[in-house]
């Protein structure tokens, strides 16, 4: 099990870079969390009824989410190229998947006045690691929030024996560098600068690793980015065998 690390020259440096960045971010989030926790825990009866109180609770919740996502990423990046992450594919209802993704994103979308549309067969069943796929799609939606005008669409259908999930928006579309980053995350050609300089590189790499973990009858999962789709903006597409 110890033998994979050697054959990847840049992998170790990349890992150190990611680890130190992630560590730094975790520190910042911890300070944020701690401050919010202190304020909330110190609140008396009068404070609890103040309108700002639930909002602060919401802030804490969001900060913790960030923290959790970071932990997930750290787990994934412990060994670049070989995800050290418990993988647990099971048959799932697509309706339940969409429902859960929508509920994860709802506060963010509501606060930004963004409508979420969904197209899917509720009773359809597919086998995948639910927690990993929910994490991936939630990140895709968070990303779409940045690019969209006012609508995001999540669409799930079977296509050529693959489960195809699309997260589309009605913004101006992804810049070419972003689409390239999606391709390079998938092909593994990550030595170029675009992977690390693009702020979405981390999330795309995460997504591509999660997709590739899904294997069925000699076929692997994949991700890609493109422009167009039903809403005419950017589209994140994941295909699972």
């Amino acid at each position: 099990m110890e033998d994979q690390a050697e054959d990847r020259e840049g992998a170790h440096e990349l890992f150190l870079f990611l680890a130190s960045t992630a560590h730094d971010m975790k520190n910042s989030i911890s300070v944020l969390t701690g401050t919010l926790e202190g304020l909330l825990a110190g609140a008396d009866d009068k404070d609890v009824n103040h309108p700002a109180y639930p909002q602060m609770a919401q802030m804490l919740y969001q900060t913790k989410r960030l923290n959790d996502n970071l932990i997930q990423l750290l787990a994934l990046y412990k060994q670049v190229g070989k995800p050290e992450y418990p993988f647990d594919p099971r048959p799932q209802h697509i309706g339940e998947l969409v429902q859960q993704v929508a509920s994860q994103a709802k506060v963010l979308l509501a606060s930004k006045n963004i409508t979420l549309k969904a197209d899917f067969q509720s009773e359809m069943v597919w086998t995948f690691d639910e927690d990993l796929i929910i994490g991936m799609l939630t990140q895709a939606i968070n990303n779409a929030v940045r690019y969209t005008h006012d609508t995001i669409r999540i669409a799930v259908e079977e296509n050529e024996g693959y489960l195809e999930i699309r997260v589309e928006d009605n913004g101006a579309g992804f810049p070419q560098s972003m689409i390239d980053a999606g391709t390079s995350a998938m092909t593994g050609i990550t030595s170029g600068v675009n992977f690390m300089t693009n702020s979405s590189g981390l999330g795309l790499y995460f997504a591509s690793e999660v997709a590739k973990m899904h294997k069925y009858r000699q076929r692997n999962g994949s991700i890609r980015l493109e422009n167009g789709g039903q809403l005419g903006g950017g589209a994140f597409i994941v295909r699972l065998p």
Binding site: L60, Q72, E96
Partner: protein
């Protein structure tokens, strides 16, 4: 079909979704367990948004236990990490062992990141589902409904399982598979487990192969390997377990099984290494730490054994699984480090925390070994003498490991006849367990009785084999009455010999199959099998024989057209 999901799910919409899942979660009683007040507040808010009205909260595992004893909760949301004291898994284990949860209650384990425990497939007590923080209403509701639906699908199967009616339970699985594509894999997994329990490894193997034909599941590959291992094909099993680990290094069950395979092959060092790796991945299992401690103690790896036993005691403090073995092990380690004082303290602690005659006896033996290993030969001799006297007064013998420790001690303090008798007793009751026989030989070697020991082992084995073969011969030549009588004699002489016990039951069954049902023979066979299940639970042959016995029970209605279970020839030698 197109859905416009309102970006903010309205509580009414949530309630409607709950109704669609055809169960009302609003009137249920909830318990939230988390050591962090902020999380408890968030969860309370989440539950309120789901329409829940009754909820309590606990800030620690201990507090949760007090509340779970007092109140019945329909849903428990328990964080895995609860700071000092019991963790979430220990709360769950205690609930299950003390029957604090009804079959319909839902236990959800909450954690900050996807835990190894959730996929390792080893923990004996599994929650109904794992949820990763942050918990949103939608995710919680989805998981609750899913658990509820699964409980409906498995209700009858679980009931049959509890009644040990494994074959009926397996048939019920088939019935459910037809209508439940979503649960098909879980049902097949359950079916394979049931078939194994029912003593049908070939049918279980077919189920695993059917599953693997579609997709590579760790549990199915591990299941196939376990069947190979039980068939005595240890090397093939070892390779298969290692294959599973190479694919998924978090699948702890494969490590535990691999350690067993090595153990069966007599490769104790390899077995210990595997256990060490497994405890690194999942350190909070009392059972696994004990196993590592015992393996390391046997190999004389003092630092490793000490670490394992101390960890085992530490996690055991808050666990219903806590074990006295760790205390005895640690005492031995202290003795070997020449710290008799701490060893005696540990033994005193063991006797405070655990009760029973066996604990007293084992404490006494360990005390003698500690004295001897730390060089206090006078006290060791005194303890040995007391134990020898006890053996003379009471013909009852303790379990095999205790007999072997006692023999080791008695040899060490210079007694000869009593330990020889003890070891011969062990051999006769385990005459075909080659790994154990090697261990007995080792004890003889240490007592400088290597050659004499080898002779003793040989004659004791022959004595046991002769007894059994005589019974089998009578049986095979059709003298069933004589065979039954002879096996009674054999059982009296060797009360814990598994082969004799199983063959005894088999012959009783044959007798009834040929000469008809007989109440006394039925009771006798049943008693023999219950005794076997008591000394070595979960044997395949036990399930097979119980099944044959059940078919012999007189019925009011005509018997169903099941295939008639024939006489099992496997027992012959």
């Amino acid at each position: 079909m197109s859905h416009a999901l309102n970006s903010a799910l309205h509580p009414a919409a949530v309630a409607a979704a709950a109704a669609a899942g055809s169960i009302d979660w609003t009137e249920k009683r909830y318990l939230i367990v988390d050591d962090f007040v902020g999380i408890r507040q968030l969860l309370r808010e989440t539950l309120r948004n789901l329409g829940a009205k009754h909820f309590d909260q606990a800030a620690s595992g201990g507090e949760a236990m007090i509340m779970l004893v007092k109140t019945h909760y329909d849903v428990v949301l328990c964080d895995f990490n609860l700071g000092d004291g019991k963790n979430g898994q220990q709360v769950l284990e205690e609930c299950r062992i003390r029957n604090l949860l009804t079959p319909s209650s839902v236990f959800l384990m909450v954690s900050a990141e996807k835990s190894v425990e959730s996929v390792m497939g080893a923990a004996e007590h599994q929650p109904d589902a794992y949820i990763i923080k942050p918990i949103t209403e939608g995710v919680l509701l989805t998981r609750l409904n899913r658990v509820w639906q699964k409980k409906q699908v498995f209700r009858e199967i679980d009931q049959a399982f509890v009644e040990k009616d494994y074959l009926r339970a397996a048939k019920l699985c088939d019935g459910q598979i037809v209508n439940n594509k979503l649960h098909e894999i879980d049902l097949l997994r359950m079916k394979a487990t049931l078939l194994l329990k029912a003593g049908e490894p070939q049918k279980a193997r077919a189920v695993y192969e059917q599953v693997l034909d579609d997709r590579d599941y760790n549990w199915a590959r591990t299941g196939l390997a376990k069947i190979r291992m039980n068939n005595g094909d240890h090397e093939a099993a070892r390779q298969m377990f290692q294959g599973v680990i190479a694919e998924n290094r978090f699948y702890i069950d494969a490590y535990d099984q691999l350690a067993t395979a090595y153990q069966l092959m007599g490769k104790l060092e390899e077995s210990c290494d595997v256990l060490e790796k497994a405890t690194k991945l999942s350190p909070n299992s009392v059972v696994r730490q004990r196993r590592l401690g015992l393996a390391a103690l046997k190999l004389g790896n003092i630092p490793l054994a000490e670490r394992a036993f101390r960890k085992c005691i530490a996690i055991g403090e808050y666990s219903v699984m806590k074990t006295v073995d760790a205390y005895f092990g640690l005492a031995r380690i202290c003795g070997q480090k020449n710290d008799a004082k701490e060893a005696l303290q540990v033994l005193a602690m063991a006797q405070r925390e655990f009760t029973g005659d066996m604990v007293q006896l084992r404490a006494k033996i360990t005390e003698g070994l500690v004295y001897h290993e730390s060089g206090d030969y006078r006290r060791a001799r005194k303890t040995g003498d007391e134990l020898e006297e006890m053996l003379n007064d009471d013909p009852e013998r303790p379990d095999t490991p205790t007999c072997m420790e006692l023999a080791t001690l008695l040899f060490a303090v210079g007694v000869k006849d009593a330990p020889v008798d003890l070891l011969c007793y062990v051999i006769k009751n385990n005459h075909d367990n080659m790994v154990l026989l090697d261990e007995v030989q080792e004890i003889f070697e240490k007592a400088r009785m290597g050659e004499e020991g080898a002779e003793l082992i040989k004659s004791a084995r022959k004595e046991a084999a002769d007894m059994m073969n005589k019974g089998v011969l009578l049986w095979k030549t059709g003298k069933l009455g004589e065979a039954v009588a002879w096996m009674r004699t054999a059982r009296e002489a060797l009360p814990n010999n598994m082969r004799i016990l199983f063959n005894s039951a088999q012959i009783l069954i044959s007798h009834m199959q040929q000469n008809g049902y007989n109440r006394d023979l039925m009771d006798e066979a049943n008693g023999v099998l219950m005794h076997v299940d008591n000394i070595a639970p979960g044997q395949q042959r036990f399930a097979q024989l119980i099944e044959q016995l059940a078919l012999l029970m007189p019925r009011k209605d005509p018997p169903p057209d099941e295939e008639n279970a024939g006489v099992n020839e496997e027992g012959g030698e």
